[in-house]
């Protein structure tokens, strides 16, 4: 089915099941420990052997020698696979560095060997006996130092509208500031893990992966085997946030280890290895220049961003949102990329927008202060309903102003006072606001639906549920389309033997995967109607019955003994080209800053979101509060600290890389504005999982400024950056 004209009324609009706050259908399994993650498939591998991965101890250079003899002689050891004995390996389309390094080392903790032994304890002990000598080479590890040599990535044209330089120079009010965001880690709770089983030349991997079809391709390409010989299974994923979009070393080394040991192999990357071995969100340096009239109308918007990655890698495109968020006739956006020899940079929740808004929305706060205009009012004043670079291209829906106004009203924004004026005991109290913006992407997505003789509808698609609630919204979609209760729907996900879905990433999964299920259900409805002798265009599906023209028959009757199956996919036409599809929100935050110590505590948080139809307000709200939590992490604590001499992230575990814990997060409020977007899909939905993080860190930083009068432009905002500038304690 092709979606190339705006959606009209369809069975989803009944909203009997879609749009209802529904408990997750996988909830009872997750809460009783019965949901099975990658490392836990004892049913398929009852007596596996264990792999332990060794990471390179240098950031750049060569392995000069590797002595595995002691390890091979250690009890229980079955095989050790290194680049020297692995055979010829390719590199996946989505990987920058090789997943098995050596003798060349491209980054710190790049995997260089897997030790396979009868038990985990034996594999781990033997791994410590592998002796590796290196010749360390000079590397580039400092973004600030590499910045002057950064170049324009080949796929990234500068966005130029009007004459920025002249307009900025002429603007009566100017802001020109530089902001720094650090490298960040996904730090999902489930480590990257895989079980590999070979059956002849066919490989099955039970793994933890967001994008099944991409990763089948990359496993095949890396191992040099046909795609048809690779099956990936990933029914439950313990968090991804972009870190599991791609094949990583666990999958490839489990496969190589299993081939060498001729046994099923299971392995997980150890927590301290994950931070340098896998991908991270790259640090940015961002210069923002805003020119405005005295009334606050933006006349010039300039945003330049610099980031670094390994040779052949990509930039952190932190100017994306600035191209679309505010009006302004003269615009200049530039993205520059330096080569760094740090671990591989790649997507983390809202890549581009998350760090971009950390800078832009502080800049807007600073401009509001310069202008003497309320920060909410400044944003409303500069709203645009069209793509500022292509005014003939309207937004499909854009309720940013409504988000800001609703939020200001609900939060009590009007009580906001000038910086460093509000005191609550030992706490300096402040509030901050930021706009949230994230584009809506649609991806081709397929599904298969089967109706059986008991009237049960089974959906199969290789879509993944990374905590987003895919199981539940897919079940809701099928139930609504086929006119059956939720309990009559069974959903099977994350298996490459199922039709290829959109996968989970870029907040495209919810809308795209359910649209694919919609398409398959439309086909199944036609087949059912035909079988029962109804006109498909008139048949109504409700209460497990099909009816038309005064006649009604049980849905199950159409299935017969053999069942009835339909498969289809949703593809997209040009609507995303003719209309800009984005999601919008406003974040409001109250913080307290200890007047003596500078300790920062978040006291209140509110998000107002406009993101199309909300398919399940309960799980959508969870997506948003989770993203708000990660946003607090970005604001106040998350930073991979770079050792600029040796070239690695120093704080590579969960004690050193701090993420928010219970004590850091207050009760959180989320409001979804009533919205349907007929340009996005027949579901009229968009994404929310990344919108929720966009702007949060800036709202926190702005609240800290409002509390203390101190402006921090170098994330994370920690007390050491406030301490010498706090108001004098009376």
């Amino acid at each position: 089915m092709k979606f190339d004209t705006p959606a009209t009324t369809n069975p989803i609009d009944q909203l009997k099941i879609i749009g209802k706050s529904t408990d997750r259908i996988d909830g009872p399994h997750k809460t009783s420990g019965l949901a099975t993650y990658a490392y836990e498939h004892h049913d398929v591998a009852p007596s596996p052997v264990y792999g332990f991965v060794i990471g390179a101890a240098i950031a750049k250079g060569r392995i000069t020698s590797m002595d595995t003899s002691k390890a091979l002689a250690a009890p229980g050891v079955l095989a050790i696979v290194t680049a020297a004995n692995a055979g010829k390996l390719g590199k996946g389309r989505f990987n920058t560095a090789k997943l098995l390094g050596g003798p060349e080392i491209e980054h710190y903790h790049q995997a260089i060997a897997v030790v396979v032994a009868e038990t985990f304890e034996q594999a781990r002990a033997a791994a410590s006996l592998v002796k590796v000598d290196y010749a360390r080479a000079q590397g580039r590890f400092d973004l600030a130092q590499a910045k002057p040599g950064a170049t324009r990535p080949k796929d990234s044209a500068d966005a130029v509208v009007g004459d920025f330089a002249t307009a900025f120079a002429a603007a009566p009010v100017q802001l020109d500031e530089t902001y720094v965001t650090p490298d960040q880690s996904h730090a999902m709770m489930e480590p990257h893990a895989s079980i590999a089983i070979w059956n002849g030349d066919k490989l099955t991997l039970w793994t933890s992966n967001q994008m099944i079809a991409w990763s089948v391709g990359d496993v095949a390409q890396t191992l040099g085997i046909p795609k048809a010989n690779v099956r990936l299974v990933s029914p439950f994923i313990g968090g991804g946030f972009g870190g599991k979009l791609f094949v990583r070393a666990d999958a490839i080394l489990a496969a190589l280890g299993a081939r060498a040991a001729r046994r099923p192999v299971k392995l997980a990357l150890t927590r301290p290895l994950i931070f340098n071995n896998t991908t991270h969100r790259p640090a940015t340096i961002q210069r923002i220049r805003l020119g405005a009239t005295k009334e606050g109308k933006l006349t010039a918007i300039g945003h330049g961003t610099w980031s670094g990655d390994l040779e052949g890698g990509g930039p952190e495109d932190a100017v994306q949102q600035t191209r679309l968020l505010y009006a302004g006739a003269n615009r200049l956006m530039t993205t520059r990329l330096a080569v760094l020899d740090l671990p591989e940079g790649n997507a983390m929740r809202a890549p581009g927008e998350a760090p971009g808004l950390m800078a832009l929305e502080v800049a807007m706060d600073e401009l509001a202060e310069k202008l003497g205009i309320d920060p909410v009012a400044l944003r409303i004043l500069n709203d645009t309903q069209v793509d500022p670079e292509k005014p003939e291209r309207p937004f499909s829906q854009r309720q940013l102003i409504q988000c800001l106004r609703t939020g200001a009203d609900r939060f009590g924004w009007a009580k906001r006072r000038a910086p460093a004026q509000t005191r609550d005991g030992r706490w300096l109290v402040g509030v901050g606001v930021a706009a949230a913006f994230r584009n809506n992407l649609t991806m081709t997505s397929a599904a298969r639906v089967r109706l059986d003789k008991d009237g049960v509808v089974t959906v199969e698609t290789d879509m993944t549920d990374i905590g987003t609630g895919s199981y539940t919204i897919i079940a809701q979609t099928a139930a609504e389309m086929m006119g059956v209760p939720l309990s009559q729907v069974s959903v099977k996900l994350g298996d490459s033997s199922f039709p290829v879905s959109s996968g989970s990433g870029g907040q495209w999964g919810g809308n795209s995967s359910t649209a694919g299920v919609y398409a398959a259900c439309v086909k199944l409805r036609e087949a059912v109607a035909q079988k029962l002798g109804f006109d498909p265009s008139l048949a109504k599906f409700a209460d497990s019955q099909v009816s038309a023209g005064g006649r009604s028959l049980p849905l199950a009757q159409a299935a017969g003994k053999a069942g009835l199956t339909a498969e289809d996919k949703m593809e997209y036409g040009d609507l995303a080209k003719t209309h800009q599809q984005s999601t919008f929100g406003a974040h409001f935050v109250e913080v307290g800053v200890d007047a003596a110590t500078g300790e920062i505590r978040v006291r209140r948080m509110l998000a107002v979101c406009a993101a199309g139809r909300i398919l399940n307000p309960k799980s959508a709200r969870s997506q948003v509060i989770g993203a708000m939590t990660m946003g607090v992490g970005g604001a106040l604590m998350e930073e991979l600290v770079v050792d600029k001499r040796l070239g690695f992230f120093v704080n590579h575990d969960l004690a050193g890389y701090e993420v928010p814990v219970h004590a850091d997060i207050p009760h959180q409020e989320v409001i979804f504005l009533d919205e349907t977007d007929p340009m996005s899909s027949p579901m009229k939905a968009k994404g929310v999982g990344e919108l929720g993080i966009c702007g949060v860190a800036a709202a926190v930083a702005n609240a800290v400024h409002n509390a203390t009068g101190v402006r921090v432009r170098h994330y994370p905002v920690t007390l050491d950056k406030l301490l010498d500038r706090l108001p004098r304690v009376a």
Partner: protein, 210 residues
Amino acid sequence: MPPIETPSISRRCLVAAGAASAAATASPLAATAASNADAPVLAKVSFEINGKPQTLELDTRTTLLDALREHLKLTGTKKGCDHGQCGACTVIVEGRRINSCLSLAVMHEGDRVTTIEGLGAPDRLHPMQAAFVKHDGYQCGYCTPGQICSAVAVLDEIKAGIPSHVSADLTASPEVSGEELRERMSGNICRCGAYSNIVEAITEVAGRTA
């Protein structure tokens, strides 16, 4: 730092000694190498897991966490970091919650261990499990069993009058407040960020049983 040898060793001392010995053994690879090359030392351990007696013969290096996950195939208890930083492996031993990754299985001779599977099953959920479903106190589900085991134990700790870092009065009975729950639950990281919902789930259960 000399090893701390005292018969009345406190938990705090143990933690300090653990940190010191970890630092000391990080570099001399040769020392660990010698012992690693030896055949694994096996030992028998008998304990009661979720009310069921179990006897295992284990490599003495096996953690309680791996004994549960790999040997008893109770994979509800999760391995998030394997070194006591995330709380995903929380189980209840003799009524108190512990990180099962920081404990060797053979240390638990005769202990009664309750894991998430012992609290309830999909068709007969424990009130805490049901409250997590109702309040959507989880997303990816990986930290969830640890959060739930911790939550159950936290309510018992409060009931037993055990104070926390945020208890204003160490001698008064602590209350089930948001602040107390957040403090006590802070050893269980949820990267999906379900904290706000988790606290609501625990509060509801506390109200029900208080």
